[in-house]
């Protein structure tokens, strides 16, 4: 309980810091949002009027103060370009983002754990080398190449899955696989090295000497010890995927937060950029918090520390 409270207090400070840094960076841009809204035919008077209506003619500190007070009352402000509540726009895209995040993490964890474990057991063998090579490709392949490749093979040529869109389970398979395959590379490598580490420990040797089955050794003794870094990585992935996976969303027409952010950046729509940044910062904090809470459940040694 104390941990949770302490972490929540930390989270608040982190978010405040993120808000301040993003705010200053965005307003230090040479691009003027009022002029982007006003478009090319506007007179200087129109631009000045828009700047005034948006409060952009006030001192930066005062603007930040207004933003913070609004934020504390749960108001993320209004989009400059879309003239709509930022919160509405983010909430509209949350279900898609969460779905893809969960599905992507599921695929990468299952793939990564399985392949990493097999590679560790068969260390030095053919399977190990194959897995390591595959994970190397996975780690280094650009997202859009994999995304387009899967799209072309499984949607265009074979027609097993829809090409684009959101709504059914079939829609989520390809984007989640793209994310999962790429992420699994990291997971496999991490699980493999952690497993090899653990398998060389004295207690595993003891277990073997006791005559325990190798299945029991791996699943009961080795894996739980090797899994800790994976939990931490999932925590990070939650934050990353929440911030939006722009490329995958673009290829598969997935209506997630990444698309919103990308469009907002091009339009210098500062309230949306701020909103998305804060949401993903919040997700990273929450993801890490969850990881920290789960870790002691799996590894009792952490509890006593």
């Amino acid at each position: 309980m104390f941990l949770v409270l302490r972490r929540l207090a930390q989270a608040f400070l982190i978010l405040l810091g993120v808000a301040a840094i993003t705010f200053v960076l965005l307003y230090a841009l040479p691009a003027d949002p009022a002029r982007m809204i006003a478009g090319r035919s506007a007179t200087a008077q129109t631009v000045a009027n828009i700047r005034h209506e948006l409060g952009l003619d006030q001192p930066l500190l005062l603007q930040f103060w207004h933003y913070l007070t609004n934020l504390l009352s749960g108001n993320l402000g209004r989009s400059y370009a879309q003239k709509t509540d930022v919160w509405t726009l983010i909430v509209a895209r949350l279900p898609a983002t969460l779905t893809l995040m969960l599905a992507g993490i599921l695929v990468e964890v299952i793939l990564g754990l399985t392949l990493g474990t097999i590679a560790a057991i068969r260390r030095g063998g053919f399977v190990d080398r194959l897995v390591m090579m595959a994970s190397f490709v996975g780690v280094s392949a650009p997202q859009f190449v994999v995304a387009l490749l899967l799209l072309y093979v499984f949607a265009v040529t074979l027609g097993w899955f829809p090409m684009s869109g959101y709504g059914t389970l079939a829609h989520v398979v390809l984007p989640a696989t793209t994310l999962g395959v790429l992420g699994a590379g990291w997971y496999a490598r991490m699980v493999r090295s952690a497993m090899i580490d653990v398998l060389n420990q004295d207690y595993v040797r003891t277990a073997r000497a006791k005559g325990l089955s190798s299945r029991r050794i791996i699943f009961r003794h080795a894996l739980p010890n090797a899994i800790l870094p994976i939990i931490a990585m999932i925590g990070i992935d939650i934050g990353q995927f929440m911030g939006g996976v722009v490329v995958v969303e673009a290829v598969y027409g997935w209506p997630g937060i990444g698309q919103l952010a990308w469009q907002a950046i091009q339009q210098v729509d500062i309230p949306i950029i701020m909103g998305v940044t804060l949401t993903s910062a919040l997700a990273i904090v929450i993801g890490n918090l969850i990881a920290d809470l789960i870790a002691p459940v799996i590894d009792p040694r952490i509890r006593t520390r």
Partner: protein, 539 residues
């Protein structure tokens, strides 16, 4: 004292133009539901705010205006107006509204709605980009200055009559009443939407917005009560957003999509073009666009006219059209060929490296000089900037290419003394309405050569400005041809000073499925890109 020229205009248009578009194709068929895709989400459908090329055509169809254009042409016709008269001095416009036209909320459109809508466009609280278009209406300065909420120059003597009093003659005023910002909206719906009118639009156009799932799709259904019989032709069109152009094209080839709004990615263009169905799928149309390089007359050495002329001769425009897979034609003057006033006989500066070098030497730069060329950073603009860089290198000019986000380039252009050269690709200039004056003031006139302006050459020629004002005072339609000629001359005379290198006139490409019918010019309509009212499905 007043002369009515409504009949003249409408009759002339109907007789001269309607048969052309009909003859080219079979008669349009009624019915059909189609799917259109775009990469970006639709930002807003508020007609007093929306100002990008995607929402522009949707807003056109959701709302109606006093004036509009004959589909596929730049010809003005009355729309919500039944007739109108213009006073001899060009300062008073009187419109009679069509009777019985209803908003889709059921209420009849009356004169006060027109007044309210235009005041909404001008009111600073709306934060709309279109206020400046209405600058000729009396009382404009009071509203933009915050002194008044109403335009004293708009009177509504009765429910069916709107009178505009102008403070100066404005020959483009009828065009102004046809742009989206002049769309008529019902006050009660705007207020009921509580600032979200852009997501809950109510108008009296050809279509009604039935459903909008943010980030996914918008469904537009036919307005059964639209005041023109048999318009529109489609029962509905669904816009799916967030669709990558390449994927949209694959879906189009499979028959899942009818119109890929973003066109064809450059990498796929030749493949599709050369395929069996290619010619039927690609709509490749001219638009009112010119791509140009601005030469900043306030930055050395571009303050020297000989240097500017030399640069005009140094750029190989044919090669740039090849970079665009031939989707453009080389330009030699600011106006695009489709624009009234374009001078076909004008040849401008031809590509001549030797002559360019000689001119540079004459200007005192036999060994060239160093400078900076700005460009936006989205493909293919940086590649075009590099081509220009190589052309400049051939005459000894070392230009550093600075490819930045659009907002930053616009900002640099509008800062005095900042950007020596800007390649305008991806930003400017497509006309708001088909009148040559729209290519002058903001981008070549003195009024645009201010901080935050779009005249990135910072070129200001008082003599030409005076001629521009004189041309725009000729609001008598009988003098239309004379006025157009005057404008054409202004643009070719500008080229003597060479503040720009007019580079290309880019065409727009839309990909459509084989079942779609209608002439190319309603898929790339000069005033609205895709004309959703006029396109139809061949059953």
């Amino acid at each position: 004292m007043f002369k009515s020229w409504l009949r003249m205009t409408t009759m002339a248009t109907v007789v001269a133009l309607a048969p052309l578009s009909v003859m080219a194709q079979d008669a349009p068929k009624q019915g059909g539901d189609i799917i259109v895709t775009y990469k970006d989400d639709i930002s807003t459908l508020d007609p007093q705010i929306g100002y990008d090329w995607v929402n522009w055509s949707m807003i056109k169809s959701l709302f109606s205006r006093l004036m509009d254009y004959e589909p596929g042409t730049p010809n003005l016709v009355p729309s919500l107006a039944e007739s109108f008269t213009v006073s001899d001095d060009g300062l008073t416009y009187t419109f009679k509204l069509r009777k019985g036209v209803k908003f889709t909320n059921g209420r009849e459109v009356v004169a006060s709605d027109v007044k309210y809508s235009i005041e909404r466009a001008v009111n600073p609280k709306t934060q709309g980009p279109g206020a400046g278009f209405f600058g000729a209406i009396k009382g404009f300065d009071d509203v933009t200055g915050g002194k008044s909420e109403t335009l004293s120059g708009i009177e509504t003597p009765d429910e069916g009559t709107v009178v505009f009093n102008l403070s100066r003659p404005d020959a483009t005023f009828l065009h102004v009443l046809a742009i989206n910002f002049a769309s008529v909206v019902p006050k009660e719906a705007v207020e009921a939407a509580g600032g979200d009118f852009g997501k809950k639009p109510v108008g009296s156009g050809t279509f009604v917005l039935k459903d909008w799932t943010i980030g996914q799709k918008l469904v537009f259904e036919r307005n059964k009560d639209y005041f023109v019989k048999d318009m529109p032709h489609l029962d509905s069109f669904t816009v799916e957003v967030g669709q990558e152009p390449l994927v949209a094209l694959l879906r189009l080839q499979k028959g899942e999509v009818d119109i890929a709004g973003d066109g064809i990615p450059p990498a796929k263009f030749l493949e599709i073009k050369n395929s069996a169905d290619g010619p039927k799928m690609i709509v490749d149309g001219e638009q009112l666009h010119t791509g140009y390089i601005t030469l900043n007359t306030k930055v050395k050495p571009f303050d020297n006219v000989k240097v500017r002329q030399a640069v005009n001769m140094a750029v190989n425009k044919d090669r740039i059209t090849r970079i665009l897979n031939g989707r453009a034609t080389p330009a030699n003057q600011p106006l695009p060929p489709l624009m009234p006033g374009y001078d076909k006989s004008f040849t401008g500066y031809s590509y001549d490296v030797a002559k360019a070098k000689a001119l540079l030497a004459e200007a005192g730069f036999p060994d060239g000089f160093e400078t900076t060329l700005y460009s936006t950073n989205t493909d293919p603009q940086p590649r075009i900037a590099q081509a220009i860089q190589q052309d400049l290198a051939a005459v000894g000019i070392k230009a550093e290419v600075r490819a930045l986000a659009q907002a930053n380039v616009i900002s640099a252009g509008g800062t005095e003394g900042e950007a020596p050269m800007i390649w305008s690709g991806g930003m400017a200039w497509i006309a708001d309405f088909p009148d040559p004056s729209n290519f002058y003031g903001p981008i070549l006139g003195c009024s645009g050569a201010v901080a935050g302006g779009w005249n990135w050459s910072w070129y200001c020629n008082k003599n030409l400005d005076a001629r521009a004002v004189a041309a725009d005072s000729m609001s008598d339609p009988a003098k239309g041809a004379e006025r157009t000629a005057a404008w054409g001359k202004i643009f070719t005379d500008i080229m003597a000073d060479a503040p720009w290198v007019p580079v290309i006139n880019e065409r727009r490409v839309v990909a459509k499925s084989l079942r779609m019918g209608g002439a190319d010019n309603i898929y790339i309509d000069p005033t609205r890109v895709i004309n959703y009212d006029a396109i139809y499905v061949n059953q």
